[in-house]
C-alpha cells in the first residue's frame, strides 16, 4: 500500500532568545499508511509534537522547518504556500489538542466550533454538518448528543471537551488525525472512557493517526506502531508488541522499566501506636465561608481523619476535585480548616498558619506541584535556599553557604548550580531545588502535592529514589498527594483514597492491591497497563458511582 505520509530527513530549528539556532528535530524519517495509528512517544522536549505538527505545515513561534520533506497524500507540505497549507488543515489532516479546555474558544458555542472546519473548507452545508456532528457526539458516547453542542466550553467537563475536540477533528472526514497528548490532562477514570471512545471512532472512520504521548501504556492500547523519540531523533521504531516485548534501545527499556513495580523492600520502623506524628481528626475545609449561616459554599474536605506515624509515608489519592490538595492546604494552615483538629507532634495546631509558632511552621513543609511556579524566577538558587536558612535558623555568611552546599548535595545537585536561576535548570533539577528548599527548614514532615506529575516518567523514578534515600538519612515523614497511583504505591505504606471530599478507604501496605470500596476498585483498575489488550479486556460495564 502506498504511504499516506512520508517524512524524509526532517529537520526543525528553533531560535532561542539569544538568537541562537538549535535543532530540535534532527533528521527524522517516518511513514504512515492509510488507516494506521503510529504513536510518537518520548519525554517533553523530545520533539514529538513538533514532528506531528509539521504534517500540517505548522511550526510554533520561533521554530521553522530547515530541511527535509513531508509528503502528505502525495504533496510536499514543506514546499507549499501558507494558503495551500490552510486548505490541507482540518480537511486532510486534523488535530486533537492536548488541552481541549484551552483549545476551544471560550466565546463561541461548541457546535459552531465543531462544524467550523466544514464551513471554512465548504465541505458540506451547515445543517448537514450539524447532523454529522450529533452522530459523532453519539459515537463518542457524549451525554445529550442532541443538545451538548449548544453549550459553551466552560459548561462541559474536561473529559467531554476532549471528546468534543475529537469530534471537531473527525467532522470533515480527514485522512489523518493528529492526537497530541489528548488524555494527559484527564483523570485515569475519565481517560479510559475517552480512550475507548477514540478507539471506537477511529476504527469506524478508518482514518490514519499520529498519536503523540509520553505514556507508553496509553499508547499501547491504540497504536499499531510506536516510534520512540529522544532529543529530536527517532531512537527506535517498530510494531507495538515488538517495542513492548523486545525493546532494543536502552532508552525504550528505561521507559518500560518505569512501569515495573519498583517498590523497594520496606522495612517498617517501630511505631508508637498511641502517638502519631500527625493526627488529623474530622477536618472540614472548603471555600466560600459565609458568616451569616456559618457554612461553606463548597465543602472540599468533608470530615476527614487520618494518622501518620514518624518515619512512615502516607499517600492521599483521588481524581481532580476530590479535595486532596485542599486537605494539604488545611493541614499546612494555608487554608484554615473550618472545624476539626490537627495534632502535630503531640500538640494541637491552630487552623491557620498565622496561629502557629515559627517552629511548628518549620517542622511541617509543603512542596508544590509546579516547581516553575514555586521558585521565584528572578532569584538565584543561592538566594532561594538562603532565605529559609536565614529565616528559620538565622544562618548567614559562611555558615549559610556551607549549609547550601550540603543541601544541594542532599538532593544530588552539583554546587556549580548555585549561581543559576530556576529558568536555567531542567524540570527535574527544579523539583530537586524545590525539595532542597523544604529540607532547608529541617522539617519532620514534608507534604508533597503532586510533586511528580509535571515530570517525565524516567525522571519520576529518580525523584522517588531520592526521596526514599532522604527519608533514611533524615528520618522524615512524607504525605504524598497524587493522582498517580503507581507513584504512591511505590513509596507509601498507607494510602487514603478520597472521593468527593470524603476519605472513602484506607489501605495499609499489606492489602494495597485488594481495595474494597467500589470507587477505589474503579480507580485502581483504571491505571493503564502495558498490555495492548488491557483496554479491550476491561469490562464494558464498569461500576457507576453516584454522589
Amino acid at each position: 500500500m502506498a504511504n499516506l505520509v512520508e517524512i524524509r530527513g526532517l529537520k526543525v530549528e528553533a531560535k532561542t532568545d539569544a538568537n541562537r539556532r538549535i535543532e530540535i528535530v534532527k533528521d527524522v524519517d517516518l511513514d504512515l499508511v492509510p488507516g494506521e495509528i503510529v504513536a510518537l512517544i518520548g519525554e517533553s522536549g523530545s520533539g514529538k509534537t513538533t514532528i506531528a505538527l509539521t504534517l500540517m505545515g505548522h511550526t510554533r513561534t520561533g521554530c521553522s522547518i530547515s530541511a527535509g520533506s513531508v509528503m502528505v497524500d502525495g504533496q510536499d507540505v514543506v514546499q507549499m504556500s501558507e494558503q495551500q497549507r490552510s486548505r490541507l488543515r482540518g480537511a486532510v489532516v486534523s488535530y486533537v489538542p492536548q488541552s481541549a479546555a484551552l483549545a476551544f474558544n471560550p466565546a463561541k458555542a461548541i457546535m459552531d466550533q465543531v462544524i467550523e472546519v466544514t464551513q471554512i473548507h465548504g465541505i458540506m452545508p451547515a445543517e448537514e454538518a450539524r447532523q454529522r456532528a450529533i452522530e459523532l457526539f453519539r459515537a463518542l458516547s457524549l451525554p445529550n448528543p442532541e443538545t451538548i453542542g449548544e453549550r459553551y466550553p466552560h459548561q462541559v467537563s474536561g473529559g467531554q471537551l476532549q471528546r468534543l475536540a475529537a469530534a471537531m477533528a473527525l467532522i470533515a472526514n480527514p485522512k489523518i488525525v493528529i492526537f497530541d497528548e489528548p488524555t494527559t490532562a484527564l483523570d485515569v477514570t475519565t481517560q479510559i472512557e475517552v480512550l475507548r471512545a477514540f478507539k471506537d471512532v477511529m476504527r469506524r472512520a478508518g482514518a490514519a493517526a499520529i498519536y503523540v504521548s509520553h505514556d507508553l501504556a496509553v499508547v499501547a492500547q491504540l497504536a499499531d506502531r510506536i516510534a520512540v523519540l529522544r532529543n529530536g531523533e527517532v531512537q527506535e521504531m517498530g510494531q507495538t508488541v515488538q517495542i513492548l516485548e523486545q525493546a532494543r534501545h536502552p532508552y525504550t527499556r528505561e521507559l518500560i522499566a518505569a512501569f515495573e513495580p519498583h517498590r523497594a523492600p520496606v522495612v517498617l520502623n517501630e511505631i508508637d501506636e498511641r502517638r502519631p506524628l500527625l493526627d488529623v481528626e474530622n477536618v472540614v475545609a472548603g471555600y466560600g465561608w459565609s458568616k451569616i449561616d456559618s457554612s461553606l459554599l463548597v465543602k472540599a474536605v468533608d470530615n476527614v481523619s487520618l494518622q501518620l506515624y514518624e518515619g512512615r509515608n502516607l499517600g492521599i489519592v483521588g481524581e481532580s476535585g476530590c479535595g486532596k490538595s485542599t486537605l494539604a492546604c488545611a493541614i499546612s494552615g494555608i487554608l484554615p480548616a473550618v472545624s476539626g483538629h490537627i495534632i502535630f507532634d503531640g500538640r494541637e495546631l491552630g487552623p491557620g498558619y498565622k496561629e502557629r509558632t515559627a517552629q511548628q511552621k518549620r517542622e511541617m513543609q509543603i512542596v508544590f506541584q509546579y516547581a516553575d511556579a514555586a521558585l521565584n524566577p528572578a532569584r538565584s538558587i543561592d538566594d532561594i535556599l538562603g532565605r529559609p536558612l536565614a529565616f528559620y535558623h538565622g544562618l548567614t555568611g559562611e555558615a549559610q553557604s556551607k549549609r547550601i552546599n550540603a543541601l544541594l548535595d542532599m538532593v544530588r545537585l552539583p554546587t556549580s548550580l548555585r549561581g543559576r536561576r530556576p529558568g536555567e535548570l531542567s524540570g527535574g533539577q527544579k523539583q530537586r531545588v524545590n525539595f532542597a528548599r523544604a529540607l532547608a527548614a529541617e522539617p519532620k514532615l514534608i507534604i508533597c502535592d503532586e510533586v511528580t506529575s509535571a515530570l517525565d516518567t524516567v525522571v519520576v523514578a529518580a525523584i522517588i529514589d531520592l526521596l526514599r534515600e532522604l527519608q533514611q538519612e533524615l528520618s522524615l515523614s512524607y504525605i504524598f498527594i497524587s493522582h498517580d497511583l503507581s507513584m504512591v504505591q511505590a513509596i507509601c505504606d498507607k494510602i487514603v483514597v478520597m472521593y468527593q471530599g470524603k476519605a472513602v478507604e484506607e489501605l495499609a501496605v499489606e492489602n494495597m492491591t485488594q481495595p474494597q470500596h467500589p470507587y477505589t476498585q474503579l480507580l485502581f483498575s483504571s491505571v493503564p497497563k502495558l498490555d495492548p489488550n488491557w483496554l479491550d479486556s476491561l469490562a464494558r460495564e464498569r461500576p457507576i458511582l453516584t454522589a
Binding site: S86, L88, G90, A107, E116, M168
Partner: protein
Amino acid sequence: MNKHILFLITNRIIISLITLLIIAVIVFVATTLLPGDTATILLGQSATPEAIEGLRKAMHLDEPAFTRFISWILAFLHGDLGISYSNNMPVADMVGRRLLNSLKLASVTTAFAVPLSLFLGVTTAVMRGSLYDRAVTIFTIGVISIPEFIVATTAVLIFAVYLKWLPALSLTADIDTLAGLLRAYAMPVITLTCVVSAQMIRMTRAAVIDALASPYVEMALLKGASRKRLVLSHALPNSLGPIANAMALSLSYLLGGVIIVETIFNYPGIAKLMVDAVTTRDLPLIQSCAMIFCLAYLLLVTIADLIAILSNPRLR
C-alpha cells in the same frame, strides 16, 4: 444564567451610584476648601463688614457645611445647578450650551478615533514585527510622548499659517454647512484624535496579540481558518473587554482634559468654562462642571464594564 448577569449588572450600576455620591462629597469639600471667602471676593476689598455679612447670609454661607451639602445635592438632583456667582445667570444655561459644544467635539473625535484605533491596533497585532507595525508603534509612542499643545500648535503652524487651508480658530459662525463644519473642526479633531488614539491603539494591539497567542487561535489555524477569520471571529471577541476599558479611559479625556486644545483653538467648550470659573471663584459653576466631568467618566467606565460583562460567555 440570565439572573446572574442581571445581578452583576445591577450590582455594577449600584457601585457607580455610590461612587457618584462619594465624588459629590469630594467635589463639595474641595470647593469649600478653596482659600478666600466668597463674599469678600465678590464684593471686593472695599466692602463693609455688614455688607459682607449680609451677602453671606443671603448665600447661606453661614450655615454649616453639612446642611449646605444636603441642599446643594438635593437641588442638583432636581436639575437645579444653582446661580452663577459672577454673572447671576443660571448655571444650567451656561453649562448647557458649552456642554453641547464639547459633546459635539467629543463625538466627532470619537467617530474618527475609535475606528482608526481599532483598525491600526488590530492590523499591527496581526502584522506583529513587520515594518508597518514598527512604524505605527514608533508613531504612537511619539504621539504619546509629545504634549498636545505642541501637536496643536504644530498643526496650526502647518495648516493655518503655511498652507492656509484651515482657520486657526474654531470659533466660527459658519458651522451650518458641512464644509464649514469640517473646516472648523478639522484641527481640534486631528489634535484630539492624536492624543486619544495613541493609547487606544497600543491597548488594542496588546489585547489582540494576547488573544492571538492563545491555544484556541492555534486550533483555529489548524482547522485551516484564514487570517481574517482568526482575527475577527476568534481573537477579537475575546479581547473586547480589555479594549472597551482602554477606550473608555481614553475617551473620558475628551470632556475634562481638552482644556489645552480648547484654549489653543479658542473653542467654547466646557473645560474652558470651568477654568474660567476657577479664576472668578464661581463655586456653583465649578461644582457643576466637576460633577459633569466625573459623571461622564463614570458613565464611560461603567459602559466599558458592562461590555466586558456581556462579552464574557461565562457570565452570559
